[in-house]
Symmetry: none
Subunit: 185 residues, 2 copies
DNA sequence: CATATATTTATAAACCCCTTTATATATGTG
DNA sequence: CACATATATAAAGGGGTTTATAAATATATG
């Protein structure tokens, strides 16, 4: 078996952390006019950064969710910027907030057309969901690593649910091997 | 058997009484702007008090239902306030309306996790209802005292249907003894 | 015409779902 | 071209779910 490098690209990293003991979001909204805060619609305040291009959700509890980053490094840079903005707005924030990556979304290309109907039949309903008139992708739930792969007829795929980049590679390798074994690729 | 004091808290007392021979709710609504009266939606007029924090439902017949009180004393204070407000609005009201407690809702904590599935199996369907996907609590109907206990996996419970605080204590003691006897606690 | 439900109020417990953000994929509809 | 459709994920509120209980109306079945 030839072990080729998986042609994968991380598209989105979602992470959470706690930057302060608590935050007065109404006061923060006034200090940061570029932010969005509509408590009756959603309890978090939305703060978008241009660089790294991300969106942070800040909560009354001091917890923060960062989405949109393409690397872990960018998540850290984004959260650092959020902390600085909040600190400059007159709030006390933690110096080294511990960041937890909650989800990594990646895309990849198998460089071969896929017969999704054949794949759905060969692998079975326990792990697969495929309803083309509802959504063109085939949903494949892997147990180890515990991620979800969306397979498309074009051979492109999306992997979501991973917490580490390596899990994305593992998952894609598994899919490739299974498709090869069943001569579906 | 060690007779420990039950860790119980009354959360709501519902009581009814008659404060006048009859009431013109439309006139009362005008005299008490803070009240709510939408006869096509519900025949009673709703009057909320801040202290004691309660809600009273007044009917054309002069009957009144008081909800939200945490003690019998507060029910009395609330109904006294309602009578005063109605009297000040120019209505004739009874001096000493006889109050009947109709329902007492209480919460308690057994301070131990509960295996609701095991409890449901051990006690049986005649007295128990447990449909976790519909509601997380197990419904236990006691015949004496005639109350209903909602048991939760956390060990916390809700007792409703009692007319006297002592019935709440009796019911909880019975539940504890039964769970102990069946080694479910 | 007689029972049933529904309406409303309060209250605890603990679950569910939804709200919002980002992101690739690829279909369909307006 | 802009939306849903579908996936995962955290955050915190809101809503709904269940139980009992009175009151007085309106509908609805038997």
């Amino acid at each position: 078996m030839v072990e080729k490098k998986v042609d994968m690209k991380i598209e989105n990293v979602v992470a959470s952390t706690t930057i302060a003991k608590e935050l007065d979001l109404s006061k923060l909204k006034k200090a940061l006019p570029e932010s969005e805060y509509e408590p009756e619609q959603f309890p978090g305040l939305v703060l978008r950064l241009d660089e790294p291009k991300t969106a942070a959700l800040l909560f009354r509890s001091g917890k923060v969710v960062c989405t949109g980053a393409k690397t872990i490094k960018d998540v850290e840079r984004a959260i650092k910027k959020v902390c600085d903005k909040v600190a400059n707005a007159g709030f006390k924030v933690f110096k080294k907030p511990e960041i937890t990556v909650q989800n990594i979304v990646a895309s990849a290309n198998l460089h071969a057309q896929l017969n999704l109907i054949a794949i759905a039949q060969a692998i079975g309903l326990e792990k697969i969901e495929y309803e083309p008139e509802q959504f063109p992708g085939l949903v494949y739930r892997l147990e180890e690593p515990k991620v979800v792969i969306l397979l498309f007829g074009s051979g492109k795929l999306v992997c979501t649910g991973a917490r580490k980049a390596e899990q994305v590679n593992e998952a894609i390798k598994k899919i490739i091997e299974e498709l090869n074994a069943k001569r579906l690729l």
